[in-house]
Symmetry: C2
Subunit: 345 residues, 2 copies
């Protein structure tokens, strides 16, 4: 299997995506190539030995081979023709906007390119934190109470402090604040609104447990990672989470009863359902008063949560064998032909 | 304003889209061009005088000018360079898959092309009938009780007959059946599963009223169409609805109290929210025992529901002035530059 790691794009998490790609360079054993989407959404074929953060931040990547995305794949423009770049599967490693909001999956589906990653529907459901909650509820998975505010409408906050404020459509803790008293509120709202016109407000529990579980659905059923209890210093801010995206080891395995582990896995199964087929996702759960709550779905977790799996290369190859297929629609113009006489002469 | 009508694509509603485009040819007064996406997802520039159903069903369109979709627009390939096709705005008129499932909006957003039509989020929410219900509930709009079944899981049906069975992700009544007794069930399930692996089941009420309302959000607020009470013969099947897509007149104005009209409009406003900004949508409501229920959201209704508006050209130009803008994300590599020293040497 030859993978093409797709990363970058026009996203607040652009830089994290670069870090994810660099991390996976040393994790994935199979043959692989790297396709970078820059902030202007131009594609470049990146040499493996040049795959270092500075190569991008210095804009040196602009000297790399430009690629064209069109039907069937990515192409390199030669003088008189176009040469197709050879690979078997895209690994969508674009975090946040473009990658996780449904845009990249739509492009890859439209142009008939096979890929590992969430499809458009699952992307939209996981990217918008309110949709995640509505979806979770429909699958009998609990989430914390919440409120959505919009920049353009004045509304009062329903919860007592402390609360947590997040942009509605971002991952990676960007724009997130814990607000403990009224005097901190205005600034926190400003920060969150900088990233989205809609924000999500939830009560903040200092004493809540966090459990992260990644997994896939293979041909033979679900395969789960270990369950991690992330080390937290109050709450991960962007800088800390940024480093987190480059992890290839060092997960803190949660010490759980067999029964609780099973319950968390069942919640994961309900969320994954058929919606996330083809993707390696990580679900972050809360645990409080013996209740499990879904916090968020990461359909493209940092460095694909490789550090949670015993054998990540095995996971990659198993998900490769269970990718959803697009429904083939045959159009025979039966209706037009039959109705033509009536309407369209 | 010069519009580019985009129609066709790989969808069960491909043919309806052609009919919609033909209908709008005579409705839209402004300058316009026609871009056809065929079932293989190749784009063609179609001459207005050739825009007849038979031109497509006979595959004659293959002789038309092929276009390339890429950054900034659609291009025509010349011997040594590419020529950009000039227009101001795409009108997304692709019904069903590709057009209404988020794919085309994602492509247009990614390639920075302005368009009238739902964005990716609104598309996914309206295309999947369960997501529509979850979303409606979150906006305090009622829907009928339902059940979702999947092809691969045996489940019993919770409702008494008669029930209505629909593929979860289709519009246009394709694959839809009303089942009045057990002996009709198996065939109806087979039909629906032909179009989607998931199906939606709802109770069927023969005596329910139907009210359709289209509208937009302009810079100055909502503008509504008349409310139509569609003429129904039991339920529209695909052939009848197909003809319905070519309508440019003849709406049956519902005879409603001022108060009920207002209530329906308020439900529409709640659904439209910010999610459907940029789109001319039609919401189809049920009315029973003085309660209003959302049946479905058509984010790209047949022939854009032009026949419901007094002055459709005015609606088009007003929505053109209130299209949502993509958030501009500036990437300055601040994090990489600051963390570089620690991690990426």
């Amino acid at each position: 299997m030859k993978y093409a790691i797709l990363f970058g794009a026009n996203s607040y998490e652009h830089e994290i995506s670069i870090v994810s790609a660099i991390t996976l360079k040393n994790v994935i054993n199979e043959e692989k190539i790297y396709i970078f989407c820059d902030k202007d959404r131009e594609f470049y074929l990146i040499d493996e030995e040049k795959l270092k953060a500075k190569y991008f931040s210095s804009f040196e990547y602009k000297k790399a081979q430009k690629l064209i995305l069109k039907k069937g794949g990515f192409y390199q423009k030669l003088l008189l023709k176009e040469k197709k770049i050879e690979f078997d599967l895209i690994v969508n490693l674009i975090h946040g906007k473009d990658g996780e909001d449904g845009t990249i999956p739509s492009l890859l589906d439209f142009f008939n390119i096979n890929y590992i990653g969430p499809r458009t529907e699952g992307s939209v459901i996981s990217f918008n934190k309110e949709f995640t909650k509505l979806y979770a509820k429909s699958k009998n998975v609990e989430t914390l109470p919440y409120q959505v505010l919009n920049k353009n409408f004045k509304q009062t906050i329903d919860f007592d402090f402390p609360i947590i404020i997040k942009p509605l459509r971002l991952g990676s803790s960007i724009g997130l604040s814990v607000v403990k008293k009224n005097s901190e509120l205005e600034y926190a709202l400003d920060v969150a609104y900088e990233f989205d016109d809609d924000i999500l407000i939830e009560p903040f529990y200092d004493n809540i447990k966090e459990y992260n579980l990644a997994g896939i659905k293979s041909k033979d059923g679900f395969i789960f990672s270990m369950i991690e209890e992330p080390r937290k210093e109050s709450i991960l801010d962007f800088d800390k989470k940024y480093l987190d995206f480059s992890r290839s080891e060092g997960a803190n395995k949660a010490d759980l009863s067999k029964e609780l582990k099973k319950r968390i896995q069942n919640n994961f199964k309900n969320i994954y359902g058929t919606l996330f087929e083809g993707a390696i996702i990580r679900c972050d759960f809360f645990y409080k008063d013996d209740k499990i709550y879904l916090n968020e779905i990461n359909p493209i977790p940092g460095s694909l949560a490789n550090y949670l799996f015993d054998d990540f290369n095995d996971i990659l190859s198993m998900i490769s064998l269970n990718l959803p297929k697009q429904r083939k629609i045959d159009i025979d113009y039966k209706y037009i032909n039959s109705i033509n006489a009536v309407k369209c002469k």
